[in-house]
């Protein structure tokens, strides 16, 4: 049984910030959007949105494509899915350990 598979922490830490989560939600709702248009929806400056988009981009959570003078971003779901799978693996491992403890305690 695999046990210490490495944590996808770029994704986990990118998602730890509530503004970035709101930003992802806003992008997901629009399908594709520029920093300027998303900043209009959120209580943060365009500069802050650009900075957060950079973090999300490095974690692979968004991808941008140049469109004239602006960059249009959209959400990539795969890192979120694979992170959820990683966490599911951690949970499964705890289930296995709890059952082993149960067997030991109920022996005799």
């Amino acid at each position: 049984v695999a046990t210490v598979s490495h944590p996808p922490d770029a994704v986990l830490s990118a998602l730890s910030d509530p503004t970035r989560r709101a930003l992802l939600d806003a992008l997901a709702a629009r399908g594709e959007a520029t920093a300027t248009s998303v900043a209009r929806e959120l209580p943060v400056s365009r500069q802050a949105v650009v900075k957060h988009l950079g973090v999300l981009d490095r974690a692979g959570l968004v991808v941008g494509r140049r469109d004239g003078r602006e960059v249009r971003y959209r959400v990539r779901a795969e890192p979120i899915r694979s992170t959820a799978r990683w966490l599911q693996g951690v949970a499964t491992e705890w289930d296995r350990r709890l059952l082993a403890i149960k067997r030991i305690a109920e022996e005799e």
Binding site: A2, V4, P7, V11, R85, T92, L98, A105
Partner: protein, 149 residues
């Protein structure tokens, strides 16, 4: 979307003292923790060592001990590295009596969102790139195989 903690529990048909022994005593610990032996120094600040045949050793530090009630440790999610902010999570077991002779054993692992930089460190490890995705997929297959059809 992605939680900071994981919580699991199990009902055990044994009193808390027996569950506590299974959880913390050296002769039992090696059977449920890791697959190549485990050791715990049962005092706050004591070392936690959990060995796997294929995944190296996980290192931890005991945070709390309240006999028959709470056992908690911080541990590193990177093999063979001591726990520190950035690579560690906190694991807390609690034992609650249920009825006359049963125990609810709960485990909470928390701090996933505070992990930092372990992926970059991983890239510097020569042996590590084999374990990430492969381990994850093995877990997933194991999980799927264990689900009723």
């Amino acid at each position: 979307m992605v939680p900071d903690s994981i919580e699991r529990d199990v009902l055990i048909e044994a009193p808390v003292e027996r569950v506590w022994a299974a959880l913390t005593q050296a002769e039992h610990l090696g059977r449920w923790f890791g697959d190549a032996g485990a050791e715990v120094e049962l005092e706050v600040g004591g070392a936690v060592v959990c060995r796997w045949r294929e995944h190296g050793t996980a290192l931890g530090v005991v945070e709390r001990i309240e006999p028959n009630r709470v056992f908690a440790f911080r541990w590193s999610l990177l093999s063979d590295e001591p726990p520190r902010p950035g690579n560690e999570t906190l694991v807390t077991f609690t034992l609650v009596p249920e009825g006359a002779s049963a125990t609810r054993l709960r485990v909470v692992e928390t701090g996933f969102r505070s992990l930092r930089g372990t992926e970059e460190e991983r890239r510097r490890h020569v042996d590590a790139n084999t374990s990430g995705w492969k381990g994850e997929l093995t877990e997933l297959q194991g999980y799927l195989a264990s689900q009723p059809a």
